[in-house]
Amino acid sequence: MASMAAGPDHLFNLRNSFYLGAYQAAINNSEIPNLSQEDIVERDCLVHRSYIALGSYQLVINEIDEASATPLQAVKLLAMYLSSPENKESTIASLREWLADPTAGSNATVRLIAGTIFMHEEDYSEALKHTHSGGTMDLHALNVQIFIKMHRSDYAEKQLRVMQQFDEDHTLTQLASAWLNLAVGGSKIQEAYLIFQDFSEKYPMTSLILNSKAVCCMHMGNFEEAETLLLDALNKVSDDEPTLSYSDAKDPETLANLVVCSIHVGKPSPRYLSQLKLSHPEHVLVKRAASAEDNFERALQSFA
């Protein structure tokens, strides 16, 4: 089913910037004339989600008030969830209330945020409960990611096919297929690399694209090139995105991948790891490394 295009898509660039991790660009270029009411809400959601991605949770929480539209409220909820993990129970409680409401609960953005939050909670079945029916590209893309996290690439592929039928050239479709390609591995890695390569030729470089390319390189066994790309990405963050409250934080994935790369190229650099530990103590790599130590000691015990 090929979609038949109608009028110009005003939010195209904004959406693209957001998906590709050019959050500051998305925020800076959000003043678009001639938007419909619907588009304005979507625009605001994208802008605020960009702020969240940059870590400016408080700004989002403050800017969205009770009068704002439902989708925006949902975005605010996400900001609250991410900003204060200690209060997450209450946030999740209000999320559940929202979801129970038939109008709010069927709103795509609300469902998207629910999916995201439950995914953070690693409650995938709860997340899928709200997202599996899809409806927007965002939701489908999130589904792909959830299934990848569940190691069910067969399901992820089904979601991807839905996206491809809807719009094969959509940025999210391309991204999701790259994610899936990476997850299934093998010759597909090359395809994932080409997708990110296409992005990097077509759009301004972002640390997200660089990082994704680096991951492809790592999976192809080319750790030197990956390291170069990651160092690029690291500089990119500090050069291009002197953002409001995010300034100290290096991109965690870049750091994490750098740690892995430096192990592989045989020049371990504890600096990246300590940097990551400082800026993102909750990062998977940090947790993994800590659990590995415990694991080792425990295994040692069994020999003693």
Binding site: R49, A100, P102, G105, L128, H130, G185, S187, Q197, I263
Partner: protein
């Protein structure tokens, strides 16, 4: 049919192409012969001497001649250069139908209504043969292109072939007189030397035309029976082969095509028909509305035809000759015949890639028209006009270059044009609906999009964008955003050429080139009188293009010029530096080297890259009047100045550029009044009073000079000038100067001297010079003039100048941009890069622009800073709000039904198995288990295989292996990161979804590297460092994985090598600690020499052992070490010491102390206690590193590798999956 040129005139009866130049002669029914340049489209000449229609005309193939024959029975031979009819051949008794030159002999054949064919010698200007036999008008006669044959067609319904061989024999005979005699004979007795060879009968009506095939023994004829007949002949006979039916009226002319296997005929039915000569079927018909066709002509060399009709003629070709091609980097793909070919511009290698489909129907112009290539996917789209526009998609197999001959089953489709718009997407135009279909490489429609304008062709315009062409404009359309990015009114665009950086585009029309930006903002437009054929961008942003006969360039500002002329049209594919790559009409690749100096220079000038300009001025000879004119016209006289030697031109340029000093120098050189005068004017304009003065002095222009002195206040010079005037007896000058000076006495004196006494008197008296006045009055006597009454005279004094002397102050010292550079260049010799850069800096200072830029930048910076501050403030405001407390979203009443309803159908799938689990299930290699995070399994494996019990040294490696087995992908914004398992041994052909083993941090080559650095450290005596390295190898090897069996052996070998070093180094380090025990020291040193070491290291060990023993006076032992050392062929320094010790020991072969060391008895050394275990004694060994120990060490941790338990049971090192299988 592709019409190239068309004329309107009286009926055209005869046509002939010039063999070399783009000319065609058309003879008209009105009696005029026109000479046209069909390329330029201009009438060059007309020849108007025939009376009545001229039916036949023909160019000579080498001389500037042509022949014509008309209804005035005259054959005229003309020189078209001198525009003269050279002579007229008389003899025919009726209208002349055709005339033709022979290709080598000086002959002309003519056909006439007098039923004869005549052959003439145009050098002797006589008729040499009359061919009789036809019994009606002979409509056409022509020589065979190679053999001694003539073919003729007549209204007697026959075609005849004549043998003129004997005529040729006669001509070659040397005797001129004799020849003339026989010619007379032939005239008298009629055509004995030309005999009819064949009479071809078959047409039912009069035959209008017959002609030979250029190479084959074939004849084609056309007649009033509306048929075209094909005849074949051999040595003895000729016969009819086939008849081509289709014309609706008399066939007037028919010919074989010069290059293709086709027959072209035209007829009074107003059509031209094209026939396949082999299949003898009609291919195509071109009709005209009102004009009957009378004559055809085929160009002998190139692919052109001409046809004459009632109201003029057309020059046309049947098929496009432009090969379809696409360039990507250095790779050029193009089509030739039925193959896709590949040409590498860097190596200039040409190869055949794959065969492509040949059109099934034999119609014309179905060959590939455009080609689009996707480099990443190695896919090619070939578009042709087949089936009203269609495309074929081929994927080039990676390894098939030049091999396969099988036509791939291409994916096909119909559409106006198809181009790649992304790596794996192409767009296909649906013309009638103005829609594009975006398709993937499987030829499936991915998306449909309607275009903003009615479009008849699409071109690539950057990823995801299309350039859509309509009749009178082009737009760039973004397919994803569905936005028009740019729009431009243009003539009908035929080709689109993007610059290498995709920033500029050249739109080529028939006679126009439009350069625009990527958003279609017009940059410049160029008009050409000759057709534009192709173009490409060079790396500097100059557009290089070809017309039919030139290679030209176009600078970004629209300046253009000719680079060189062309003999034949070419299609530029790529420009790289001085080389132009192109395809010619035969589909051959060519590389043409051009002289790019001119346009590079102009470009540098345009871009204000004066350093480059400078370099080029210094290094190349590109001057010439044209270049100077260009520089002048473009406002760069100061640059032109540096090209010119001629002083006059130099002077003019200097004045134009206001360069006074150069002008002065030139003026001095020329030293003519005219130049000095102009110099003065310019200097005056610039306010350079000194030069003005100098110029006036040089021209002796005293009047101007005195005025100059007056206004500049140089009164002393003015009075000097007055003196000069006095000396020169120039009364007026003197008077003027006096007037300027206000010197009344002088004036009176001058007047008096000049004999104007009344004037002198009046002047004197008016100015109150009483005594002089009185003296003059007496002299005048009664002629004293009366002074005006009632007026008080006042003294006229010149005002004092505002400013005295000197030049006008100049606003800024405009040091000529080039002057500085040239001077420095002159000082420093050749301009090299560095100097240019330096010079650039200097120039920068001189230019005000730079400062202005700086200012602007500062301003912008300031604004930016302010803006940022503003943002910060906003931020703070945000912070305050936070203090006021958060408003949680209002809680809503929550009926729960719907959410449940939605989820009821959906069953969450169970979680899949993480890759690390798969790893740990599959693998029996410790390293892979560690990478999968199953440390306990890994440890159990190591214990079982190698008896390892001490895992502490392996901790960091375990953790690194584990950490290194995953990558982290940030996927959807704000959602948790995705960790992905990194697999080992990736290749392009690995199949997806099949889990490979984990990627490992350690490999064998790393260990070899470490071994090398360990050796190096040992050599340089950094023993602790060396030991650390060797130990780390030993510690890593249990976690190294190699692929093949042979590598396993290498790993095992490495273990033994390293073990020896670890043991040796440990002993050596121990020896250095035990300084107080000389015996033990000697023993350890001695044992060290029995470790299996590299030769240089062994020498070092021996040397040290020798020294230690010698010091302890164990000369006999020292002697054995010295001997062993000498056997190893050591360096001279070591050898010398060794020899001395040998000498010393030989004198006293004793040991003072007893050592536990018997070098004659083979032994190994215990890895913990460092005592020798002689052969036959009991020992235990380490299951991993194979170090040996005294039995008492059983059960302890190995002292060498520090990992395994001595004497433990172990199955052995497993470090490769090949061992497990």
């Amino acid at each position: 049919m592709l019409t190239k040129f068309e004329t309107k005139s009286n009926r055209v009866k005869g046509l002939t192409f010039h063999p070399k130049r783009p000319w065609i002669l058309a003879s008209l029914h009105s009696g005029v012969i026109q000479l046209w340049d069909y390329r330029m489209g201009t009438l060059i000449d007309r020849f108007d001497e025939h009376e009545g229609p001229v039916r036949g005309v023909h160019f000579h193939n080498s001389q500037p001649l042509f022949v014509s024959g008309g209804d005035d029975y005259k054959i005229k031979v003309w020189n078209h250069k001198t525009h003269r009819c050279l002579f007229t051949l008389l003899g025919h008794l009726d209208y002349i139908r055709t005339v033709q030159f022979h290709h080598e002999n000086p002959w002309i054949v003519s056909a006439s209504d007098d039923q004869t064919i005549r052959i003439w010698n145009w050098q002797s200007r006589t008729c040499i043969s009359v061919l009789t036999g036809h019994n009606h008008y002979v409509m056409c006669a022509s020589f065979h292109p190679k053999e001694d044959l003539v073919v003729s067609a007549s209204l007697d319904q026959t075609v005849r072939v004549w043998d003129i061989g004997s005529l040729k024999k006669k001509t070659v005979s040397p005797a001129d007189d004799l020849m003339r005699f026989t010619q007379m004979n032939s005239d008298l007795f009629g055509g004995v030397d030309a005999i009819v060879k064949y009479v071809l009968e078959g047409h039912d009506r009069g035959v209008n035309w017959a002609s030979f095939h250029p190479t084959l023994p074939l004849i084609v004829s056309g007649a009033d029976d509306r048929q075209v007949k094909l005849w074949r002949m051999n040595e003895t006979k000729a016969w009819e082969v086939d008849t081509l039916r289709g014309h609706m009226n008399n066939v007037s002319s028919v010919m074989f095509h010069a290059k293709q296997d086709i027959i072209v005929s035209n007829s009074e039915d107003k059509s031209i028909r094209v026939w396949d000569a082999t299949k003898r079927t009609g291919i195509q018909t071109f009709r005209r509305e009102h004009d009957r066709f009378w004559i055809l002509a085929v160009h002998p060399e190139i692919n052109l035809l001409a046809a004459g009709h009632d109201n003029g003629m057309i020059v046309f070709k049947l098929e496009r000759e432009r090969p379809a091609f696409a360039l990507s980097g250095n790779s050029l793909f193009y089509t030739k015949d039925r193959f896709l070919r590949y040409y590498d511009c860097s190596t200039q290698k040409d190869s055949q890639v794959i065969p492509i489909r040949r059109p099934g129907t034999p119609s014309l112009n179905q060959s590939p028209r455009t080609l689009s290539y996707s480099p990443t996917e190695n896919a090619v789209l070939i578009c042709s006009d087949l089936d009203g526009g269609s495309y074929e998609l081929y994927i080039i197999p990676k390894d098939s270059v030049g091999r396969s001959d099988v036509v791939q089953d291409a994916k096909r489709g119909t559409g106006g044009s198809a181009v790649f718009i992304a790596r794996n997407r192409f767009a296909v135009l649906e013309k009638n609906t103005s829609q594009v279909l975006v398709k993937n490489l499987k030829n499936e429609v991915v998306k449909k999009s309607s275009l903003p304008i009615p479009t008849d062709a699409i071109f690539y315009a950057g990823t995801g964008n299309l350039l859509c062409r309509s009749e009178d404009k082009v737009v760039i359309f973004d397919l994803q955003q569905r936005l028009v990015l740019g729009e431009l009114q243009t003539p009908f665009v035929r080709y689109v050429v993007w610059s290498n950086d995709m920033e500029s585009v050249a739109l080529l029309s028939k006679h126009t080139i439009i350069i625009a930006s990527k958003k279609l903002v017009l940059q410049c437009t160029l008009h050409e009188t000759i057709r534009v054929k192709s173009g490409a961008w060079d790396d500097n942003g100059v557009f290089i293009y070809t017309t039919l006969n030139h290679i030209k360039y176009c600078l970004p500002n629209g300046d253009s010029g000719i680079i060189r002329t062309l003999d034949v049209p070419i299609y530029i594919t790529k420009v790289s530096g001085n080389t132009i790559f192109c395809l010619d009409r035969d589909g051959k690749n060519r590389a043409i080297t051009i002289n790019a100096t001119e346009y590079i220079f102009k470009l540098a000038l345009l871009r204000k890259r004066y350093d480059h300009v400078m370099g080029m001025i210094k290094n190349s000879q590109l001057c010439g009047q044209a270049m100077i004119a260009y520089l002048q016209q473009k406002g760069f006289p100061e640059v032109a100045l540096h090209f010119v030697e001629d002083e006059r031109v130099r002077f003019n340029l200097a004045l134009e550029s206001g360069n006074i000093s150069v002008a002065v120098a030139s003026a001095t050189e020329i030293n003519e009044k005219e130049q000095w005068y102009r110099l003065g004017v310019e200097a005056l304009r610039q306010g350079n009073a000194g030069i003005v003065e100098f110029a006036y002095q040089q021209t002796k222009n005293f009047e101007r000079l005195s005025f100059l002195y007056l206004i500049t206040g140089k009164l002393d010079k003015l009075s000097k000038l007055m003196k000069i005037a006095e000396v020169k007896n120039n009364v007026m000058g003197q008077f003027h100067n006096a007037l300027y000076l206000g010197d009344v006495k002088e004036r009176v004196k001058i007047l008096e001297n000049a004999g104007h006494l009344p004037l002198a008197y009046i002047t004197a008296s008016v100015h109150g010079l009483k005594d002089v006045a009185e003296r003059l009055a007496t002299e005048l006597g009664e002629n004293v003039p009366s002074l005006p009454e009632g007026k008080t005279p006042s003294l006229l004094m010149p005002p004092s100048p505002v400013m005295c002397g000197g030049d006008w102050p100049l606003l800024r010292v405009m040091k000529g941009i080039f002057e500085g550079g040239l001077e420095s260049a002159a000082r420093g010799g050749a301009v090299d890069e560095e100097e240019e850069e330096d010079a650039g800096g200097d120039w920068g200072d001189a230019l005000d622009m730079v400062d202005v830029d700086g200012m602007e930048n500062r301003d912008i910076d300031a604004i930016l800073e302010e803006a940022e501050r503003g943002e910060d403030e906003n931020d703070e405001e945000g912070g305050w709000e936070e203090l006021e407390g958060l408003d949680l979203p209002p809680e809503l009443d929550t009926p729960k039904a719907s959410a449940n309803a939605r989820s009821s159908v959906f069953v969450t799938p169970t979680q899949g198995m993480p890759v690390s689990h798969i790893w740990s299930q599959k693998s029996s290699l410790a390293a892979e288990q560690a990478a999968a995070g199953s440390f306990d399994t890994a440890m159990r494996l190591l214990n079982r295989q190698l008896g390892i019990k001490n895992f502490a040294p392996l901790k960091s490696m375990f953790i690194d292996l584990f950490s290194g087995s995953q990558s982290y992908l940030r996927a959807f914004s704000s959602s948790p990161v995705v960790s992905l398992a990194i697999e080992r041994g990736w290749s392009e052909s690995s199949s997806p979804n099949v889990r490979g083993p984990p990627s490992l941090v350690y490999d064998f080559s790393q260990q070899e590297e470490k071994l090398k650095s360990g050796y190096k450290a040992t050599t340089s005596g950094k023993l602790t460092e060396a030991l650390r390295l060797f130990l780390s190898i030993l510690h890593t090897i249990p976690l190294v994985v190699v692929e093949s069996r042979s590598e396993v052996d290498e790993v095992k070998e490495l273990v033994t090598i390293v073990k020896e070093y670890v043991l040796g180094l440990k002993m050596e380090l121990k020896r250095r600690e035990t300084k107080d025990d000389p015996v033990r020291q000697q023993e350890l040193a001695a044992y060290f020499t029995h470790c299996n070491l590299q030769l240089p290291h062994l020498r070092l060990a021996l040397f040290s052992a020798m020294g230690v023993c010698y010091k302890s006076k164990n000369l006999a032992t020292a002697y054995t070490f010295a001997k062993r050392l000498l056997e190893t062929n050591p360096m001279e320094s070591q050898a010398k010491t060794a020899r001395q010790i040998v000498q010393a020991a030989e004198r006293n072969m004793t040991d003072t102390t007893e050592l536990n060391y018997d070098f004659r008895n083979p032994f190994v050394i215990c890895g913990s206690t460092y005592v020798p275990i002689y052969r036959g004694q009991k020992d235990v060994s380490c299951p991993y590193c194979t170090a040996r120990f005294v039995p008492s060490q059983q059960g302890n941790i190995c002292g060498v590798c520090d990992l395994a338990v001595i004497g433990a049971d172990a199955s052995g090192l497993v470090c490769s999956p090949s061992q497990v299988r």
